[in-house]
């Protein structure tokens, strides 16, 4: 067994056993850690593997969340079914954005702007759909918080804890498979140099489109979790630029295009954010945006001192092999 696998096993064991010792507050923080590890991993497929920057990724979280929630609230469709609709909606919208952008050669920063525009547009659209609660929000009826109902995704906080743990493990394994697959190598080639990729027979348009659609679909599943865990959705939060930035911080801090990066990044950033919030509250001043400011500063520090992210640096320190899939030795 590789040291990589041992590390992963230890981490998994720690998370699996945490509820034995941790109180409700710590568990709720760990849920947020895993949630950001999950959506960060999903975003990383697009940016880290295929090199396509999405700055409006909360669009897919919001679409997934609203789709599954609205189906549940209005039609009583259980989450276990609603998630398919949620993923399908996000895949479709991701496909449209990708097709538009890539067909007309919108690249790099301009593509990123396009993703922001779509997220903003959707926010405004959703504020005007009465069935979705408009700006006043959409609320899911809170059921029995003692039970465990995975089909309707109603129940005890521990159920959500283990669900997001399973999702995070699942997406990690999926991404690990992907980077070692033909499709994964195709993405890496496109990320590194599109012209060279095309010269090797790679259909660049299709490669980018599959990355966007897969990333969108997986992100939407994170949105379903979000909706049923928090039970309320507001367009100006669900589709806000802030949320999009939060999604991308963990993989950037942890290490773009690496498998551990999003996990490590979330493990660093979420507790950091909590500490900052607690500290400012304890000191008795309310400074809106202080958390964002600290996030920004830590991001600056990362870009300055560990431009490849924390994980590539830590990996070398621990003497571990690269994750494979485009992580050769320097």
């Amino acid at each position: 067994m590789s040291r990589q696998a041992i590390l992963l096993g230890l981490l998994l064991a720690a998370f699996a056993l945490a509820p034995l010792v941790a109180g409700p507050y710590l568990l709720s923080v760990l849920v947020v850690v895993m949630y950001f590890a999950y959506v960060g991993q999903a975003w990383n497929i697009m940016m880290g593997f295929a090199g396509q920057l999405s700055l409006g990724h909360t669009l897919y979280v919001g679409l997934g969340a609203y789709t599954a929630a609205a189906l549940f609230v209005h039609l009583g469709v259980p989450a276990a079914l609603g998630l398919f609709a949620a993923a399908a909606a996000a895949v479709a919208v991701g496909g449209v954005i990708g097709a538009l952008g890539f067909r007309f050669g919108v690249k790099g920063v301009y593509f990123a702007l396009l993703t922001i525009a779509f997220a903003e547009f959707t926010r405004i659209l959703f504020e005007h759909i009465p069935g979705l609660g408009g700006p006043a929000g959409l609320f899911l009826p809170v059921g029995d918080r003692g039970g465990i109902d995975l089909i309707h995704l109603r129940g005890h906080p521990l159920m959500f804890y283990y669900l997001i743990l399973a999702m995070t493990v699942g997406i990690f394994l999926l991404c690990r498979r992907l980077v070692r697959s033909r499709l994964g190598y195709t993405w890496l080639a496109v990320r590194e140099d599109q012209e060279a990729a095309a010269a090797l027979g790679i259909n660049v348009f299709r490669a980018k489109l599959t990355a966007v659609m897969l990333s969108a679909g997986l992100t939407a599943l994170g949105g379903v979790f979000f909706a049923f865990y928090y039970n309320n959705l507001f367009p100006n939060q669900a589709f806000s630029m802030n949320r999009s930035i939060e999604i991308i911080l963990a993989p950037i801090v942890g290490g773009l295009g690496t498998l551990f990066g999003p996990i490590l990044g979330a493990l660093i950033l979420t507790p950091l954010g909590e500490l900052i919030t607690m500290a400012t509250e304890a000191m008795g001043f309310k400074a809106a945006g202080i958390k964002q400011l600290c996030y920004g500063l830590s991001l600056l520090a990362i870009v300055k001192f560990l431009p490849d992210g924390v994980w590539p640096w830590l990996r070398t320190r621990l003497g571990l092999e690269p994750d494979a899939g485009g992580e050769g030795e320097s």
Binding site: R180, L188, E192, A197, A199, G201, N203, G326, S330
Partner: protein
């Protein structure tokens, strides 16, 4: 009537705004041949390659592979039709390993990553890059990057290989070694090669036929020994340089 040549280029024209970069270039390459395309800087050689490879659409003329037109195809479609090419300005996939660079080339014809990896190792062996296979491509020296360009294109399993100045900047011994590699490939697997090259040592040693262009226009064509003595070639190209 003989069968169609492997590559046919006829009356090729390309304009860049005011400039006519390629103007009526015509040549054909039979299967199994090694043909050199030479000419002074800015003659339009790379532009001809780019039109064959689908990077630029020609403004006129024909490009055919085994009788089927390549005009209008995208670069990836041209590659899948059997044309491998290298870039004069090398384009390595910098942040992945040398082996993975070549493996991606081999994925053109196989979906099996393990098989692609095996092929990548063979190709790297052939080109003398085997001991660097685990390095990141961005850490290679320029001669090694040129070599990697060739390895990647070769791994796609082309019928026709377009080489754009892959021997520029190599030491004479390295040039000879690469020439030997191409000869071997040509002899043993019948690989057809069109090479753009300023290194006359390589052109003379490798090519069976030479096509000369200048200012986008065809100058002459023939066996290497004749071409280098042709007054028109001496006038526009070789006269100014060595020889």
């Amino acid at each position: 009537m003989s069968a169609a040549p492997l590559l046919l280029v006829e009356g090729l024209v390309k304009n860049f705004r005011g400039l006519r970069a390629v103007d009526g270039v015509t040549f054909s390459v039979n299967a199994g041949e090694v043909v050199a395309l030479i000419g002074p800087n800015g003659a339009g050689k790379t532009t001809v390659f780019n039109m064959i490879a689908g990077v630029f659409q020609p403004d006129g003329g024909r490009v055919e592979l085994e009788g089927a037109s390549l005009v209008g195809l995208r670069p990836d479609q041209v590659c899948r039709a059997g044309v491998g090419r290298t870039f004069q300005l090398v384009k390595p996939f910098g942040n992945i390993s040398v082996e993975e660079n070549v493996l991606i080339g081999a994925l053109r014809w196989t979906h099996d990553v393990a098989q692609a990896r095996r092929r990548a190792r063979e190709v790297l062996d052939l080109l003398g890059l085997a001991d660097k296979r685990r390095q990141m491509a961005r850490s290679l020296t320029l001669p090694d990057r040129k070599c990697l360009e060739v390895a990647r294109a070769l791994a796609t399993g082309p019928k026709l290989l377009l080489l754009d100045e892959v021997m520029a900047g190599l030491r004479p011994a390295e040039t000879d070694r690469m020439v030997e590699t191409f000869r071997k490939l040509n002899r043993e697997s019948g690989l057809t090669i069109v090479l753009i090259e300023h290194v006359m040592r390589a052109v003379m040693a490798l090519s069976q036929r030479v096509v000369v262009i200048n200012s986008g226009k065809p100058v002459c064509e023939g066996v290497p020994e004749e071409v280098v003595r042709d007054p028109r070639v001496l006038d526009c190209y070789l006269g100014q340089e060595k020889l």
